[in-house]
Amino acid sequence: MKRLICLGIGLLVYAIPVETYARPVSYPGGWTVSQTNNGEANTLLLHYSPTARYSLGYKFEYWRDGDFTVNALQMNNLLKRWNNEESQANLYLKSGIGIAHGDHETSPAAYTGLATDWEDRRFFASYENRYTEAGDVDDFFTQSARVGVAPYIGNYGDIHTWLMLEVSHAPENDEKITITPLVRFFKGVQLLEAGMTNHGEVLLNAIYRF
């Protein structure tokens, strides 16, 4: 029941225009490698996009609170994109299936979640949620939202800077709410984010496309 309530809250919040961490689908034939490190987990994702509608990849995760890892095949689907002259919005389904390893247990694992984002060249907002089921190892729900503003607007090839605020909710963690101010630097096919959570943990994310 608790999980259903959380999922319901997540879907409700989802109606508000908010984002994904970064676009999980690339251009046709594009590869992406991304690495995230925050208070909750360390992850590494390598994916390939056969079309601009979906991507397939391998994901490794280490979840700090539960002290377990997940190795999974991940598929990201672009369910809907809204292209406007000044802005773009997206709705994604991100799902994975693999194996979770805990201290004493190993179990099949699966996860799925919705992600949405809206951005123009000045403002950014996003939201995503995820439910993970890993048998005896763990099961949990997480969700996060971001807002951002670009202090200046650069053209293609310039260094773009974004000031962002992320709020994440992990109902089953000791620290249920985490707030992270962060700065995003974005140039060409490279993206770097750095921040510090209200619990004193470092956020460091990077993306490279090729």
Partner: protein, 104 residues
């Protein structure tokens, strides 16, 4: 006709015929808001044999496609490439780049 006359005729034709340069297509694109978008369009258009070069302008939300000499890309093909990249076409404008300078 003597060979000298033929040479003079050929030279005259050569210096009075405009060079056939490529065409420039300016595409207004919706949804192009970041460098990832720009890179996606660059990659997709660069794979086309008919494309000489491409330039993306995020301020104008346009893509400038320079087509190779004697090649062409239809509006339908341009629209398909943009759509396949994940974006929408707002407008397509073509500029012929035939040069008045003689081809030497």
């Amino acid at each position: 006709m003597k060979p000298l006359h033929i040479l003079i005729a050929l030279f005259t034709i050569t210096i009075t015929t405009p060079a056939l340069a490529g065409q420039t297509i300016t595409v207004g694109v919706n949804g192009m808001v970041c460098d990832f978008c720009a890179r996606a369009l660059e990659k997709v258009f660069a794979k086309q044999d008919a494309v000489e070069s491409i330039s993306v302008n995020l301020d104008e939300k346009t893509v400038l496609v320079n087509v190779k000499d004697a090649e062409t890309i239809s509006d339908e093909d341009v629209t398909k490439l943009i759509n396949d990249s994940g974006y929408d076409v707002r407008s397509i404008t073509r500029t012929e780049e035939d040069s008045d300078e003689p081809a030497l």
